[in-house]
């Protein structure tokens, strides 16, 4: 038994400070992303979620340029973009995607400029890589409280709004008829989304935070019945994938070919996509549209 544990966990795994921080923060972020993600998938806003992550990249590179901690840059740009998207957002899904795409395109242009300017100053291109793909083992301990507080804020927002949010996601007309302020709820939700995306951008990088947001939620919605159970399953999958990813990345330090360790983000993404694909192995249930909750649930929560 001891042998097996030694085999699973490289010596020093449990005594390493950065690993402790990574495990704790990783779990908090995975839970937040997964719960927010259930609504993102239900509302069909995967693209918006991903775009917020990319736009947060712009903030991250801007923060790098002026020498502030990246997290604040991620957060400021994410929240700003969420507000802007809601402002120019159209009701129809296609129009919304185009509006999202245009905001994203402009933000990426800015990111290119910021990164260019910072390479002019310090001649390092490593920064762009850290921002895009993240590095969980180099969390600075001063940001950890901020990370956890904002995660709880996002989580609380979504939990408090859960009922109205679900109703307005599934059937905006019924929601509006019942006096739910659909737009205000949508904006609050987008803010929570921006926060959770900024958080996971710190952990596995802006580009891959989409994995934590969409993957566990999509998997959970395929196997669990009802929104509450789906959120719980999603949180479980997210935490497991993150922890296992951290363990594997730590173990991979001596793996070929480079001998420098494989990236955490690769393991996390592979585990998440793998768990999603595994749901295909189950016999299909009778459900008209997969990955979504039906109006039955909308009426049951209302």
């Amino acid at each position: 038994m001891g042998h097996l544990l030694r085999y699973l966990f490289e010596p020093g795994f449990f005594s390493s400070g950065p690993v402790h921080d990574a495990l704790a923060v990783g779990a908090v972020v995975a839970i937040t992303s997964a719960v927010v993600g259930v609504f993102t998938v239900t509302r069909g806003q995967s693209f918006a979620g991903h775009s917020l992550a990319d736009i947060a990249t712009t903030g991250g590179s801007g923060a790098f340029l002026i020498g502030v901690n990246q997290f604040w840059g991620f957060l400021a740009f994410g929240a700003g973009a969420a507000a802007f998207m809601e402002m120019i957002g159209v009701q129809r899904r296609r129009g919304r995607d185009v509006a999202t795409g245009v905001v994203l395109g402009a933000a990426l242009g800015l990111a290119a400029l910021f990164l260019y300017l910072s390479t002019q100053e310090s001649s390092t291109t490593g920064a762009s890589f850290t921002i895009l793909f993240g590095s969980i083992f180099v969390l600075t301990s001063s940001t950890i409280p901020a990370l956890i507080v904002s995660a709880l804020l996002a989580l609380a927002t979504v939990v408090v709004l859960a009922r109205v949010l679900l109703l307005s996601s599934l059937s905006p007309d019924i929601a509006a008829a019942r006096g739910v302020p659909v737009r205000a709820v949508g904006t609050a939700y987008l803010m929570a989304l921006a926060i959770s995306v900024a958080l996971s951008a710190v952990i596995i990088g802006a580009v891959l935070s989409t994995a934590l947001l969409i993957g566990p939620a999509a998997t959970a919605l395929r196997v669990a019945k009802g929104p509450v159970r789906a959120a719980a399953v999603a949180a479980g999958i997210g935490v497991l994938a993150t922890w296992l990813g951290i363990v594997l990345a730590y173990d991979s330090y001596y793996w070929p070919p480079a001998g420098r360790g494989w990236p955490v983000s690769f393991f996390v993404v592979t585990l998440i996509v793998g768990s999603y694909l595994a749901t295909y192995l189950r016999p299909r249930r009778q459900r008209a549209v997969p990955e979504t909750l039906d109006t039955e649930h909308a009426c049951s929560v209302a």
Binding site: R93, G101, V102, F129, I272, E291
Partner: protein, 268 residues
């Protein structure tokens, strides 16, 4: 500005703008904006892999772009398409992160693949870019009518025996083809802005498809050419100007449509 090496840049950028205008129009019309973002970005992982194994980066881009198109189309059969796109995309990026971490000197190249290196187009790169551009425009021209019908009126198309799934796959493959040639020039992140901004602007200016495609190509050309000139003068990255101009044209198109709409009742 029009010397030997810059001539390559002008030709390649022009080809990229034409292809972006044509495929972008359909991407906007079909609502596959997310796929238009995911395929070029994910394909970057292929270039990283090819670099690692010592192959031509074009080959890696093409393989990953096609694999991405197949993955999105395949997963969409049983899942919502935005979820399918997101998961295919993150998987490709995850593999890309792995490849990049294996190679030692790749960071600089990763930057140029993501954000483009339009001023470094070599002479022997121009021909494949133009050739692939011609092929993808020809492919769109050949399937123009069924593609148009299935994009604008999916139910009617289905009734006439046009398989929506097959059309979707065909379009994604053309987009993948277009991507593998354009990514090294404008970069993965900005190829997307060039596809969406001009096409969305063109769509708000006119409802007639052929005219809209022409306009989209025109706006994309203006965007890229202006971008090259300003970028040449200021040394700032081309991607910045492409992204900002794309958003500007989109907002201008929206403003034009809003103005036209508010004027119409008065005329009547």
């Amino acid at each position: 500005m029009f010397s030997g090496l810059m001539l390559n840049t002008w030709i390649a950028a022009t080809a990229v703008a034409v292809i972006a205008g044509v495929t972008g129009f359909f991407a906007v019309l079909r609502g596959s904006t997310f796929a238009a973002h995911a395929i070029p970005n994910g394909a970057f992982a292929g270039a990283a892999g090819a670099n690692l194994l010592g192959f031509n980066p074009f080959a890696g881009l093409a393989v990953f772009a096609v694999a991405g198109a197949l993955g999105i189309a395949g997963l969409s059969r049983r899942a919502r398409s935005d979820v399918a796109t997101a998961l295919t995309f993150v998987m490709m990026l995850g593999v890309g992160a792995l490849f990049v971490s294996w190679s030692t000197e790749y960071a600089q190249e990763a930057y140029s693949l993501l954000f483009g290196e339009v001023f470094g187009v070599a002479s022997d790169e121009v021909l494949p870019i133009v050739a692939l551009g011609v092929v993808s425009v020809a492919a769109i021209a050949v399937m123009f009518r069924p593609l148009m019908l299935s994009s604008a009126l999916p139910e009617v198309a289905e009734a006439r025996g046009i398989k929506a799934r097959r059309m979707d796959l065909a379009f994604l493959l053309v987009m993948a083809l277009a991507t593998s040639m354009t990514v090294p020039v404008v970069g993965a992140l900005l190829m997307f802005s060039l596809m969406i901004g001009p096409s969305a602007a063109a769509r708000s200016l006119t409802a007639r498809p052929v005219l809209a495609i022409g306009l989209a190509v025109g706006i994309a050309l203006v965007t890229v050419w202006t971008g090259i000139v300003v970028s040449y003068q200021t040394n700032w990255p081309l991607g910045f100007f492409v992204g900002i101009l794309g958003a500007f044209f989109f907002l201008a198109g929206r403003a034009y449509r809003a103005a036209a709409r508010s004027l119409r009742p008065r005329r009547a």
